[in-house]
C-alpha cells in the first residue's frame, strides 16, 4: 500500500512498489492525461510533474515517489478553466492526434516555471528536444510555448 499525493489530494493505492507510476495513475486512479508511448523514457508521452519537475512516469517506480507532489495534465486545468500553457496550446491549435501533447504541456510547464524571462525559440527547441511528436505539430507547439510565456507574463 502506498500513499500518493496526486493533483493536490492524497490517494491510497494497493500496488507493488516496482509498478511504474504511469500504470498507477492510468489504471488505479483513472487519470488518462499521461500516456504510454514507449515505456523506455524516450518519447515523453507519459510525463507528469513531481514537485514541479517533469518526470517520465513510465520508468519511475511508484515506490520512489514518496511524499513528492504529483501533478498530471488533469491537475493543471480543465477545458473550462485551462492552465495558461493549456490555453496557449488550444489557441494555437497545437495538437493533431494529440497523443504526445501531454508530454509537451508538462515539459513546457516545468520549463516556463523555472524561468523568469521569455525564452528564445532556440531555448524552446532545446527544452523540448527529448519530447517526440510524429504528426509534425512542432511548429505550432513552439508557437504555443511562446504564447504561454506571454500569457504567464514572462518578461522579455
Amino acid at each position: 500500500m502506498a500513499t500518493l499525493n496526486v493533483n493536490g489530494k492524497p490517494h491510497q493505492v494497493d500496488v507493488e512498489p516496482d509498478t511504474p507510476l504511469l500504470y498507477v495513475l492510468r489504471d488505479n486512479l483513472g487519470l488518462h492525461g499521461p500516456k504510454f508511448g514507449c515505456g523506455l523514457a524516450q518519447c515523453g508521452s507519459c510525463s507528469v510533474l513531481i514537485d514541479g519537475k517533469a518526470v517520465r512516469s513510465c520508468t519511475y517506480a511508484v515506490g520512489k515517489v514518496g511524499p513528492g507532489k504529483i501533478v498530471t495534465l488533469e491537475g493543471l486545468g480543465t477545458p473550462q478553466k485551462p492552465h495558461p500553457v493549456q490555453q496557449a496550446f488550444i489557441e494555437e491549435q497545437a495538437a493533431q492526434c494529440g497523443y504526445c501533447i501531454n508530454g509537451m504541456v508538462i515539459q513546457t510547464t516545468a520549463f516556463l516555471a523555472a524561468r523568469q524571462s521569455n525564452p528564445s525559440e532556440r531555448e524552446i527547441r532545446q527544452a523540448l528536444q527529448n519530447n517526440l511528436c510524429r504528426c509534425g505539430t512542432h511548429q505550432r507547439i513552439i508557437a504555443a510555448v511562446k504564447r504561454a510565456a506571454a500569457l504567464m507574463g514572462k518578461g522579455a
Binding site: 523506455l40 496550446f89 493533431q96 524552446i124
Partner: protein, 742 residues
C-alpha cells in the same frame, strides 16, 4: 463564429451496447434515429438517413465512416454539412466509424476524407435541404424563390414571421429519401462556414487529459492482455513454461499454436508476465541481408508489369539524343512510428463480437476479424476511438485481431495494448522502393525522351495484409500482399512527348508491407523530381525555368510560380559554386500534381550542409498548395506542416533495420526521428478555388521534401543524393565519389 466546446459522451442506445459519439454541442445527448423509430438505422450510401438525422431538440446528428486520425476532419466534415443544410455548426453531433450506425465510405486513407467522404455528406445534406424546402413550400404556400433559410428555419423572405423549422418539418422522423446527385449545392459565394478556420472541437480535451483515446477505454470485467511475439518472424512456438509466471497475481497464458499471449486483471501484471514468461521457439533466418537489400529487390521474381504511361518512342528518342542520363533512386523501408502503440478492446460472445478499435478502416476491418474468429462478419460491430496518429495501416488492425482472438479464447472482454517493440517491430512496413530513370536531351538541353522503371511489391488491392493473429494461430487466410497503390505518380507530372513508365510488381518483399502516408507517390515523385533536376543541371538551366519548359497546366504553373516567389527564388542553374567554409547552403525545388489527377503542390527546401560531417539541416520549407475548394484553411495548414516535418524526418533520418531473423530497430533510439532543434520552419501559401471540387490535403505535400532536399544539397555542394535517408555517412561517401565541388 460560435465557440465550440468538446464533449465526448457515452450513452446507451437500442441494443444496450455502449456507444461513444463525438458531440459538438455540450450538454446534449445524441438521439440516434434508431432509438425513436425502432427501425435499424440505414447505412446505405444512397440514403439520406444514412448520413443525417434531424432531432426534435434542433440538433442534427451526422454519421460518417471517415474517422478523424488527428487530421481535423472532425470539424471540416461538419462545416460542409452545416453550410449545405444551413444550420449552426454547434447544433451538429458527429458519429464516426461505427459499423452499426455509419455508412461505409471506405477507409480513412488516400487523402480522400473530404474529397469523397465530405462530398457524399454534402450531397446528402443538399438533398435533405431540397426536400425540406419543398415541404416548406407546401406549408407556407409560397414558391421556393421567396423563401430563405437561416439556422434550420425556413421563412418567407419578405415576411420573416411566416416560418417553419426543420424540427417541425422532420424532427425525429426519417427522410426516407435517396441521395439526389443533382440536388443543387449552395453557391460558394454565399458560404459562411466553409472556408473558415474554425477551431477543432477535440483540441481542448486533448490538451487537458479529458479526451477519451482508445488506450483510455475500459469495459467491465475486462482482462488486460499482452501478446508475445517470437524472436524470429517465421519461428514457431515449441514450448511454454507456464510456471515461469506463477508468481504474478492472476496472470495466465493464452495460446493457440504459435499465437502466445498472457492475460491478467491488472495491466502491469500482464506486462510483467509477458516479460517473464519462458518460451522456446524454432530458429528462422529467412530475411535477406540488410546490406544486400537492393540486390535482393532486383533479383526478386517479377509477377507482372504495370505500365503507367507509354507515349511516343522514348527508347528511340533517347538513343538519338545529344546527351543521355541515367540514375537510380532507392528509398528505405519505413515504419509508421505512431507515438502510441496499437490498442483495441474486444468482447466476443458466441457468434457476436463487440469491438473498439482505432483502425483507419472500421468497416473493412470486420472482414479480417471475421477470418480470425472464423465467424460471419455480420455479427461483428466495430467502433472507432482515437488512437495515436496512424498515417496508414500500422499495428491497429493486428492488435484488434489479437484482442478478438484472446477474447474468444478466454471468453472475457479483452484489452490488448502493444508495447513499443511490438509497434516498431511488427507493424506492417512501407516496402523498399527502387526507381531507375533514363532520359535523352537535345542540343538545347530539352528532354526528348523519358524512360522509367519501378521495382515494388505487387498489390492485391482487394485483400488486406495478413494478420499476425491468423498467421501465428494457424487460422487459414489468403496469402496476399497489399502495399497500396504505390505505382501512382510514377509517370512524371510533365507531358513529355516520348515517355514510358513501367512498374515491375515483385512477387514478394522482405517484410509484410502496407501503406504509409503518401505511399509510392512520395517515392516516385522523389525519383522524378530529382531526375528532372539532374537534367536541368546538365542543361545548365535554372531548375524552375527548366520545369516551366514542360509544364502546360495553368494550375500547376500557378503553384510553381507561387512557391518560387515565396522563397525569393534566385534564377540560376544549380549547383552554386560560390561558397567556401564548412557549412554550405543551398535551395532545391520540387513539384507534383498528386496522382496526376488532383491537388497541385510545389515546394522549396533550404538546407545547410556540413561538408565535414555530412550532416544536413533543412532550415526552411516553402509550400504552395492548390487543393481546389478549401473547407478549413487552418486544417489545411496543419496538415501541410505535419506532412513537411514528418517527411523531412523520413528523408533525413529514417531507415528500418533488421537481421536475418527480425526487425532490430525497435525503439526511438534505433529508429530516430526528427527532434525539435532539427525541425524546419514551414511557410506556405494556399491557393483557394472555392468554385472547384475540394481535393485531398493529407498526403500530396509529403511528396515534396525528399526531392527538394536532395536538389538543395546538390545546389549547396554539387553532390547528388539518390538514396533515402540522406544520412551524414551517405553525404560523405557521395562527396568522395563525386569529388567535392565547391
Amino acid at each position: 463564429m460560435a465557440t465550440i466546446e468538446t464533449t465526448r459522451r457515452e450513452f446507451l442506445i437500442g441494443t444496450g451496447a455502449l456507444v461513444v459519439t463525438f458531440s459538438l454541442t455540450p450538454g446534449r445527448e445524441p438521439h440516434a434515429l434508431a432509438q425513436t423509430t425502432g427501425k435499424a438505422k440505414p447505412v446505405a450510401l444512397d440514403q439520406v438517413d444514412s448520413f443525417l438525422a434531424v432531432h426534435k431538440d434542433g440538433t442534427v446528428t451526422m454519421y460518417t465512416g471517415k474517422v478523424d486520425l488527428g487530421t481535423g476532419t472532425r470539424i471540416a466534415l461538419p462545416q460542409m454539412v452545416a453550410e449545405e443544410l444551413d444550420i449552426a455548426l454547434d447544433k451538429i453531433k458527429l458519429v464516426e466509424g461505427d459499423t452499426a450506425l455509419t455508412p461505409d465510405q471506405g477507409p480513412t486513407w488516400g487523402s480522400l476524407s473530404i474529397q469523397i467522404g465530405g462530398v457524399q455528406l454534402r450531397q446528402a445534406a443538399a438533398t435533405a435541404r431540397q426536400m425540406l424546402v419543398q415541404m416548406a413550400v407546401q406549408k407556407l404556400g409560397m414558391p421556393s424563390a421567396d423563401l430563405a433559410i437561416k439556422d434550420g428555419v425556413i421563412f418567407v423572405r419578405a415576411e420573416p414571421h411566416r416560418r417553419v423549422s426543420y424540427v417541425e418539418l422532420i424532427g425525429d422522423r426519417s427522410f426516407d429519401l435517396k441521395v439526389d446527385k443533382d440536388a443543387p449545392l449552395k453557391n460558394p459565394k454565399d458560404h459562411t462556414v466553409v472556408g473558415q478556420p474554425v477551431p477543432r472541437p477535440d483540441v481542448p480535451g486533448k490538451v487537458t487529459g479529458t479526451h477519451t483515446y482508445m488506450q483510455d477505454f475500459r469495459v467491465p470485467g475486462m482482462l488486460h492482455a499482452r501478446v508475445i511475439r517470437p524472436p524470429a518472424i517465421g519461428a514457431t512456438l515449441e514450448t511454454v513454461d507456464e510456471s515461469s509466471i506463477k508468481g504474478i497475481k492472476g496472470a495466465r497464458v493464452v495460446r493457440q499454436q504459435s499465437f502466445l499471449a498472457v492475460v491478467a486483471e491488472s495491466e502491469w501484471a500482464a506486462v510483467k508476465a509477458a516479460r517473464q514468461l519462458k518460451a522456446t521457439w524454432s530458429k528462422w533466418e529467412g530475411l535477406p541481408e540488410m546490406s544486400k537489400l537492393w540486390e535482393h529487390v532486383r533479383s526478386t521474381k517479377v509477377a507482372k508489369d504495370d505500365v503507367a504511361v507509354d507515349r511516343g518512342d522514348p527508347k528511340k528518342a533517347i538513343a538519338g539524343a545529344a546527351k543521355t542520363l541515367k540514375a537510380t533512386y532507392d528509398f528505405a523501408i519505413h515504419t509508421h512510428g505512431s507515438m502510441g502503440p496499437a490498442c483495441a478492446v474486444a468482447d466476443v460472445k458466441g457468434d457476436t463480437a463487440e469491438i473498439w478499435s482505432p483502425s483507419q478502416a472500421s468497416h473493412w476491418l470486420r472482414r479480417e476479424v471475421a477470418v480470425v474468429l472464423q465467424m460471419d462478419a455480420k455479427g461483428i460491430r466495430i467502433r472507432y476511438l482515437d488512437g495515436a496518429g496512424c498515417y496508414g495501416r500500422n499495428g491497429h488492425e493486428d492488435a484488434t485481431c489479437d484482442a478478438a482472438l484472446i477474447s474468444k479464447l478466454t471468453g472475457k472482454p479483452v484489452r490488448v495494448q502493444w508495447m513499443r517493440e511490438d509497434e516498431h517491430g511488427w507493424d506492417p512496413k512501407g516496402p523498399p522502393t527502387l526507381v531507375e530513370i533514363s532520359a535523352g536531351l537535345d542540343a538545347q538541353g530539352n528532354i526528348v525522351g523519358w524512360d522509367s522503371e519501378l521495382w515494388v511489391p505487387q498489390a492485391d488491392i482487394t485483400e488486406w495484409p495478413r494478420t499476425l493473429a491468423a498467421t501465428f494461430a494457424g487460422i487459414p487466410q489468403k496469402e496476399a500482399i497489399n502495399p497500396g497503390n504505390i505505382h501512382r505518380n510514377l509517370d512524371p507530372s510533365y507531358p513529355f512527348a516520348n515517355q514510358k513508365a513501367v512498374a515491375h510488381r515483385l512477387e514478394s518483399t522482405p517484410l509484410r508491407p502496407s501503406w504509409i502516408r503518401t505511399p509510392g507517390r512520395m517515392q516516385n515523385t522523389y525519383a522524378n523530381e530529382v531526375f528532372i533536376d539532374e537534367c536541368a543541371a546538365v542543361a545548365g538551366v535554372d531548375p524552375v525555368e527548366y520545369r516551366l519548359r514542360y509544364l502546360t497546366d495553368p494550375r500547376g504553373i500557378a503553384v510553381l510560380r507561387a512557391a518560387a516567389n515565396m522563397a525569393k527564388w534566385e534564377t540560376r542553374p544549380s549547383a552554386r559554386r560560390d561558397q567556401s567554409g564548412p557549412i554550405a547552403r543551398g535551395r532545391g525545388f520540387a513539384y507534383v500534381k498528386y496522382e496526376n489527377a488532383r491537388t497541385y503542390c510545389a515546394g522549396v527546401a533550404e538546407v545547410e550542409v556540413n561538408r565535414q560531417t555530412g550532416a544536413i539541416r533543412c532550415t526552411r520549407f516553402y509550400v504552395a498548395h492548390d487543393c481546389g475548394q478549401i473547407i478549413n484553411p487552418d486544417g489545411v495548414r496543419a496538415q501541410i506542416e505535419g506532412q513537411v516535418i514528418q517527411t523531412v524526418s523520413r528523408t533525413l533520418k529514417e531507415e528500418l533495420k533488421w537481421n536475418r531473423s527480425r526487425v532490430t530497430s525497435v525503439d526511438w533510439a534505433s529508429y530516430p526521428i526528427l527532434r525539435f532543434p532539427e525541425v524546419p520552419e514551414v511557410i506556405m501559401e494556399l491557393i483557394n478555388r472555392p468554385n472547384d471540387p475540394p481535393w485531398g490535403v493529407g498526403e500530396p505535400a509529403a511528396c515534396l521534401p525528399p526531392p527538394a532536399i536532395s536538389n538543395a544539397v546538390f545546389d549547396a555542394i554539387g553532390v547528388r543524393l539518390r538514396s533515402v535517408p540522406f544520412t551524414p555517412a551517405k553525404v560523405v561517401a557521395a562527396t568522395k565519389t563525386t569529388g567535392a565541388r565547391a
